[in-house]
Amino acid sequence: MTTATSDKPITQIEHTVVRGVIAYTSKKPERMDQERGREFYTITKYGWGGRTIGVHTEIDDRPSVMRDATYTVDENWMPQDCFVRLTVADKFMGTGWFKFHADYTECETFTALEGRVSQRMNHRHGPLKSFQNHAIACDSWHFSHYDLSKGPGQQSIDELLLCSPDHRGATGPMLYPLRLDMVYVGDEKITVGAGTFDAHHFQVPTNTDLPEEHPPYEVYTTADGDYTFLKGGVAGYMQTHYELVEFEKTVG
């Protein structure tokens, strides 16, 4: 109903909305700077500080991976719920919903390989701090849990849950636990396709807890408290580069 009251305007816009596009390119010598995928997202930041991202991802590298995800965190960046839908090589791979409670996370999923699965995983280190849904735009959100007041160095998230242990997130979606080490290198001003930004520079060192060792990952985020992904790159066998090429605030 749209009836106005005497003391309140007819519309209510307490949130802000930003939209962004991240380009995926290769840094391998034989395909240097070749586009190999893209990501389009919408982030709603609520008036109370929580935020929801809806993100559509396309990895063109054969077999292609397409992922739709909607992920919500509260004002302290603590996960609330997440939806992930996966297509691999243009075929259905899985659809799942994750709900994060204080002591446990549940996952309701249907996958091409596992069928209908209900998972419940108790947290070993208190409420879950972060969730890896494999959208690049959300990779930078992990670093909101780095205590910047302690300066450059290394800190860890003792327990992170993933929707897939695959480097491209191309399995499941199902729960997988992991420890995440984070290195804060420092701050610098950087220029990406979407503009020039004051940035935090972070690294994720080589992770040996995954089924296949993940190469080091450099990530630059905005320094404005929103931890917007600006650019990043994975070394080793992947040689992938990700860069924010469009960014606009549309509402609020």
Binding site: Q12, E14, R31, T42, T72, F110
Partner: protein
Amino acid sequence: MTKEYHQRDHVTRKGRVLYTSKKSDRLDEERGREVWTLTRHADGRRSLMSHGEIDDRPSVLRFVHVTANADWAPIDAFVRITVGDAFRGSGWFRFADGIAECETYTALEGRVSQRFPYSGACPGFGGHAIQNDGWVCASVDLDKPGQPQTFTQLVSSTDHRGATGPYIAEARPTVIYVGDEKIEVGAGTFDAHHFQFVAVEGLPQEHPIYNVWTTTDGDYIFLKGQVDGYMQTYYELVELSDGL
């Protein structure tokens, strides 16, 4: 070299729908907006991801994902709604042969698991994205112009703005396929199917007549629509592009 590395068997389209009012005291005033991406796979499956904002107090923010097979039978869906800038619900839907299931967590009902049986494939699903309304029209038989057609749909909410749940509810819209015409909207000039929703059984409050125009290209892209009665709302596609 590109083909060696790359696999792009799908088509992606992206659109933006503007919500305005047709009430005399706020004529053509913007009252919301929606941005969506549509993926059409090689086997005919289509996935919709939509972000909708209704500014009218209490505001409604909605993320919707719906996937349907080549015959427009829904496969799975997700709906997350915020009402008055506060969390209202987050729910996942799966539509199998003979049964739909919903796993949801809402501010009012808490954690709920639903099972909803039906015969055969799921008849259709409405997640309250305006673009999703265009897809509902795919259930209408185009060989019966001018005839009222009533069919069953599952919906994520029986509220006219979709501001409850999300959970499974059943609705039975009666729709008339009016015919085809060429129309102009903000996104361009299109050949369009014109549908009219004349009634919707199963809702707690009678829904006013709703005219909808969609593309004729098989994707049932919502071009424009207007709800009469107490709502006096108007929706129009203002941007459409291929790719991201």
